[in-house]
Symmetry: C2
Subunit: 155 residues, 2 copies
DNA sequence: TTGCTCCTCACGTCACGTGAGGTGGC
DNA sequence: TTGCTCCTCACGTCACGTGAGGTGGC
């Protein structure tokens, strides 16, 4: 799965909801369970224009297209893109074109994100070292205070 | 510098502001520059009860104690503690006691934080791998689209 | 009637960023 | 008078969490 195609459930503009793309419409509960997200998350993504499920009255019905888009969102989230970036990349997708523009944008954003991730890893390594050192010192202080008569006098 | 002592600028409750602890009072601008933070950050930490500078009218004056506390805050932030955690640990500091309780709390929180950091590092490594793979695939698609006559036909 | 699933507000979280509008002393 | 530094609100950011209060169909 690549960061590129939000998928299209065929150009089906059928008005009969239940007939769309062969019955694979799911409600929000099923969608959430299937992809390991909360209902709130799915509603939030819709509010931000990342998903656009059909409606049966007020009930949301997610199509194949929504599932493909959600997979991309989750992949983007995993690699640390903002929802804004993910939306920008997905919105550039055109099933009838070569998507060169979209691919270039994705690549550009990816290079920057990769650099950010590497910086983050360095910062985390620093943090781990700092914290480990601090813990050693604290343990030392605790043992000294527990048995002050045998305490090391190192300043 | 260990995550333990917020420091004390002597028990000086002198009313003469400029006499406190030998003239080392600084205003917010100098404090910010010295520790590489913004004015907003210093005011925010005060609002959250982490710093407590003196006042000359409405102007904040930071003491040695505030400097020691800020160093601890920045160290805590570096290793990923929440401000709430940092405050909890600093508030337990008692210059007249053995601080065993404080040390145990710090150690306990540190162990949990170390585990979180290690998880984070694993997630970042995953993200880096995923993103790198995705980038390779996107580059492949771009070269295929640029020279379709020589495109590889791999599905 | 009870349960389950769905819905729409709308405020809360975390650590600040970013103006707006104003004051004080050289 | 101009500049610089300081001040206090107070809304915005990011990706949701968490109720509150209510509806619909088995």
């Amino acid at each position: 799965m690549i960061l590129v195609s939000p998928g299209e459930a065929a150009a089906n503009t059928n008005n009969d909801i239940s007939a769309e793309a062969g019955e694979d419409l799911v409600r929000i509960g099923e969608m959430a369970k299937k992809y390991g997200v909360t209902l709130r998350t799915l509603r939030f993504y819709e509010d931000k224009g990342l998903l656009n499920p059909q409606r049966d009255g007020s009930t949301r019905l997610y199509t194949r297209r929504d599932k493909a888009r959600l997979k991309l969102i989750l992949l983007g989230r995993k690699v640390g893109f903002s929802l804004r970036d993910v939306k920008q990349m997905m919105d550039l997708y055109d099933p009838s074109g070569s998507n060169t523009k979209q691919l270039r944008l994705a690549l550009d954003k990816s290079e920057k994100q990769l650099a950010r991730l590497q910086k983050q890893r360095a910062l985390i390594d620093d943090a781990i070292n700092e914290l480990s050192g601090s813990m050693t010192a604290v343990r030392q202080m605790l043992t000294e205070r527990a048995a002050p008569s045998q305490a090391s006098v190192a300043g």
